[in-house]
């Protein structure tokens, strides 16, 4: 038995996978350095965009977390975005300051949601 490999050639956005999240609908979300991928039925849907933004969720580190309803949310350089499952897009609910810079060490995320506020 071998591990099945998913990489860029098989549809993964980027080959460094920092985290996995599974939402209430059974979608598996993969966090890569270049964006977020969603895995379902053997395929990746990915590179979700924030509504109104010109770029992807963040061309770098994104941090996913499940809210109280086990739905996917994202924090990135663009701020906080909540995934709209009907529209299939992330919608920004909080915009980050323009001079934000982000770093992370190993797999430790740099974003924190504390008492209704976001720290990063």
């Amino acid at each position: 038995m071998d591990f099945k490999c998913y990489n860029v050639e098989s549809g993964l956005l980027e080959n460094t996978v920092l985290d996995f999240k599974e939402d209430k609908y059974g979608f598996l979300w993969l966090v890569t350095q270049n964006g977020i991928g969603r895995y379902a039925n053997g395929e990746f849907e990915q590179h979700f965009y924030i509504e109104g933004s010109e770029n992807c969720i963040y061309d770098g580190f994104n941090y996913l977390y499940l809210d109280e309803d086990s739905l996917i949310n994202s924090i990135s350089a663009f701020g906080v975005a909540k995934f709209n499952y009907q529209e299939g897009i992330f919608e920004q609910v909080k915009k980050a300051p323009e001079d934000s810079k982000f770093r992370y060490s190993n797999s430790t995320p740099v974003f924190y949601y504390i008492n209704g506020e976001y720290w990063y």
Partner: protein, 570 residues
Amino acid sequence: MLVGLKNGSFRKFEIDGYISNVIESGKELVATSFDQDSTYVYEIIADSMNRIYSLKGKSNLVQFDSIWLIAGSNHVWFEPGLREPIKLETANSNDSILRKINSREFLLATNLESGGTRHQIVNLSSMVSKVFFRNDTLITLDLLPDNEGKNIASILRPNQGELIIQCSKTDTFQTINHNIPFWGHRAYKSMYFDRSNNLWIGTWGLGAFCATENEMQFRKTEISEDSEELIVPFYSNDTLVFSISSSGKVWQTNFNNQISTLIYETDIFGRLLGYTQKKHMIYIPLFEEKILSFDTRDYRIDEIDLSVLSGQLNPIYATGVLVDSKDRFWVISNGSNSNNNIMMFDSDELKKTKPSINYYNSHDNLDSSFTDPRINDIFEYNGDIYITNQGYGLFRFDQLQNKFTVVRKELDAMGASQFVHITEKGPYVSTYGRGFQLLNLQNHAAFQEFSLSKQTLPFSWVENYYHVQDEKFLIRGETEKWYLLNCLDSSLLPINNYPVYSTRLGCPKMPNFEDFKVLPADGGFYLFDPNYRTSPIRNNLIISGFFIKGEKISINPFRLDEIQLKYYNS
């Protein structure tokens, strides 16, 4: 850089290095940061005035403790070489913290010394675990070698509505045979078992790998001195990549580029000392006349301040809480002779401004021979309330006389330590001098006695025990050895006679080291409080770990130079 969005505006603090952990405590934000080489760890504190404080220390001196602690410990030790306990200090209530806990935005880390101390299966001075409440799945795990080089894994998790401790000792682990071209453990970035029990492994630069646990091929490996690198402790900041399969196995990456899980030799379970569980509620005694209630349904934590109720009870060390079948609260303590040792009140009294509380002490209510104030344990059996006393054995509450009376005269001279296990036949009690006894509470005799005089144990002074399974007990006596006692068929099975080196034996509820100014009960909450900065602790490093919104953030070491753990009494 540390930027915070607070009250609608961002604050920005420039710092060097990586931010690896952030907590908010009271009025302050605390972050830990590492420089580029992870050589130095910084602790950054930003107070409510946006003033920044930074501490710097070597990160390779790491030992650990937790910042958010539940299940408590009566003695917290750091790195074995230091042999210095953290001093726990009393402090005022911190409503902000309590609200955060209640809101579940912070979740709780724990150490298992409470249970571990009781079981004494390993020197727990270096055994501190984390607890992460997460959808009622596994909530804590730690893996550390004991003094013999064996490895101990401890898990505290909900089981059918109760919190149980599971300790496992092993020197064998299982490794996945794989062909992933990993070049080092740092290549593993993430692991996850999905709902179909597929194991997903995220890598650095190699994509994601997926396999089903049931289809995996394994090989077993003995843990030896040469294989230390195969065990990655969970407190390590280096590797936090692990996941739990549906079968309950905890898989983790190791320093040898592999993915392993321990094969447990022995599973041992025990209840947490001092706790009581009533349906979905867990009640935990605290120092200074407080009880915490913990609702397992929504993780809500409330405080019952006994001093507000009356101000008369003075249980110096609350050792246990029992909520009996009549919804009466019983609080036992290690009070002094002049104090009330036991208090009891109906749960309805909690709603009253001036509640009615009954007190029992060695002078007025307890039997005249009951002169030792230390109450070790309390339990309900067939509607009666029993207590064990440190010096004078077993007592039963007499409802008519409203006092505790001795029920085992022949036990007077030895003292009973704890109720070990309650069966249909009767309770097992461990004693100081009469070994291990299965009591017949109908005629105040013993069904069975396991002791030196009965030639069924090599000792009669039972210092500790561990309920293994099916009424089998691993017990330890004055010979410094463990013996497995099978109480079902009365046979004695001394299969495990390896020595135990723990120095924290004896009554597990009474730490005996000096200079421990505040001594909490076994069950309790502890809080790392950055607001408290007196009597600096040197050379102690802690690992903090917590969850936010159910997501693991980090378990990171940082140094305690000017910060103390304090006992969190609200």
